[in-house]
């Protein structure tokens, strides 16, 4: 039976991703870097994703061997494409992003997070859209205010309550034992159609109000990394 691969799509400078790849090596973890999109061997026919082939970590990996994907970037930045002629980098980065968006969206394996329509991981909403989503999900919100021109271009209404962050990984929550915050964070994640999300609240319990959301939380804490690994392996 072919060895399974757990892909970690990340920037070349993402040290956390490297550590996770080393930690999960026995589960077939492979780092997929932006420069891997400039390796021969990629094949994808829309409608036949199960027959597609990816290139990562010096290997060609058939899609049917991919057990899960952790995406640690929203898009490929042109300055990562140092092997591409400088004048072509912007175009090549856009083409790579468009390709990855389609391919990742088509893959059926567990993924944190699945792409949105513009980002390789999640919906890439503006702070106002997160606040709106939280409100729509029934979570009280600290109003988001954007003023232009303003030195403090994007700000929240001042608050003096210590923030609490809940990290959602699938059905699990980390960072606090507060069940009200767990429930609110899960509802916001569901509304955003994501399974990995850090949600920060002002206050706790029934007085808690949504402050911000982060699609790329720190997942280096052992219990969070373990939950991410379990999720990606479908356990």
């Amino acid at each position: 039976m072919a060895r399974k691969a757990l892909l970690i799509l990340a920037s070349a400078s993402d040290e956390s991703a490297r550590r996770l790849a080393a930690l999960w090596k026995s589960d077939g973890a492979r780092l997929m870097l932006p420069r891997d999109l400039s390796r021969p061997g990629w094949r994808y026919q829309p409608g036949q994703v199960e027959r597609s082939v990816a290139a990562a970590d010096g290997e060609l990996i058939p899609a049917r061997q991919i057990s899960g994907v952790l995406t640690r970037l929203g898009s490929i930045a042109e300055d990562e494409l140092i092997e591409i002629a400088p004048d072509d980098r912007e175009y090549v980065a856009r083409e790579m992003n468009a390709f990855l968006l389609a391919w990742l969206s088509a893959l059926r394996c567990p993924m944190l997070n699945r792409p949105g329509s513009i980002s390789l991981s999640g919906p890439n909403w503006r702070p106002e859209q997160w606040a709106h989503a939280a409100s729509q999900a029934g979570v009280p919100v600290v109003p988001s205010r954007r003023r232009v021109p303003c030195e403090n271009n994007l700000s929240k209404v001042l608050h003096f309550v210590p923030p609490v962050t809940v990290t959602v990984v699938g059905k699990k929550c980390f960072g606090t034992q507060d069940k009200v915050l767990h429930d609110g964070a899960r509802r916001i994640a569901r509304h955003a159609n994501v399974e990995l999300l850090a949600v920060t609240f002002a206050g706790s319990g029934k007085d808690a109000r949504f402050l911000s959301a982060d699609l790329w939380p720190n997942i280096s804490a052992p219990e969070v990394a373990g939950a991410v690994q379990e999720h990606l392996l479908g356990r």
Partner: protein, 301 residues
């Protein structure tokens, strides 16, 4: 009030704005060239509130009942500094308006989040297929041998950008055979060539306007460059195809959409793309179809 955002030289935007102005419908035109003269405040909590303001106008977001947005990339605009506080102001104004446009209860043509799938053609083609149209067999690859095999299988293939970067759709010819080696540097999109007649269908709400394009060019939009021409005339779609276009526009959340179809000699309808910000005046000028009028009505209703 109806908000227009873009450039005054933009013909689709101007066509609709002029129609409504002549009817004395209350409108406001936010000219992107004047971005530095506008300030904005957007508040989002349990409700959405805020305003746009310049020296002579105050636009309360709550008063905006509909909006037609065709903004250009702020960084490409003459008059907007390419660095510093001026650029930050213009970009910030754009961010606020795009953020508002995605969450406002006002009618928006079209919401920014609904326009983004067009940035990836293979991603959008999967949406199109799921909503009932045939799409050409496609390969995206960095493997020159896979590209050659795909070419051999289909006999005639075209290549075009994967992203929304505008590219001329071209047939692959023996002249480009050696250049196939270059695909290993960047995922490149190849598509089986579908013979037939091109149609551009504009859907505006539940109205459908179809144009038939007669051209020998691989990409009729650039026919003139190669000494060719594109003749455009009003067409009548079979009812079932028109209904499929309506369902497609609704399915991708675009109340105004430009749908590119091709009818094969065997009677099959293929869909290549859904343009979320169609330059409809090109077709309206050729056919006399009242597309601007339909958009104006949609915004007012």
């Amino acid at each position: 009030m109806i908000l227009f955002w873009g450039l005054p030289g933009d013909s689709p935007l101007t066509a609709v704005a002029d129609l409504l102005a002549r009817r004395r419908v209350k409108t406001a035109f936010l000219d992107q060239h004047d971005s530095l003269e506008w300030s904005v405040e957007l508040n989002v909590g349990d409700a959405i509130s805020g305003y746009l303001r310049n020296e002579s106008q105050y636009l309360d977001f709550a008063e905006i009942k509909s909006a037609y947005l065709r903004p250009y990339d702020t960084r490409d605009l003459a008059g907007v500094p390419n660095e510093g506080p001026g650029q930050a102001h213009a970009l910030g104004l754009g961010e606020a308006l795009l953020g508002w446009a995605d969450i406002t209860p006002a009618k928006v043509v079209n919401r920014p989040s609904a326009m983004t799938p067009n940035n990836s053609k293979p991603y959008q083609s999967m949406q199109i297929r799921a909503l009932g149209f045939a799409v050409p067999e496609t390969l995206v690859t960095t493997d020159p041998e896979a590209a050659r095999q795909f070419w051999e299988k289909h006999g005639t293939v075209i290549y075009k950008s994967v992203s929304s970067v505008r590219s001329i759709v071209s047939k692959l010819s023996s002249k480009q055979s050696a250049r196939l080696e270059n695909v290993k540097w960047c995922p490149t999109q190849f598509q089986e060539h579908i013979p037939g007649t091109d149609y551009r269908v504009h859907v505006v709400g539940d109205k459908v306007f179809a144009s038939e394009i007669e051209s020998q060019a691989d990409d009729y939009r650039y026919a003139c460059r190669n000494g060719g021409e594109a003749k455009i005339k009003t067409a009548r779609l079979p009812r079932e195809v028109a209904d499929r276009c309506r369902r497609l526009a609704v399915g991708v959340n675009l109340p105004v959409a430009g749908i590119d179809l091709r009818l094969t000699p065997t009677g099959e309808w293929y869909c290549f793309e859904v343009n979320p910000s169609p330059g409809f005046t090109y077709y309206q000028n050729a056919t006399g179809q009242p597309i601007a009028e339909a958009i104006a009505q949609y915004l007012v209703q």
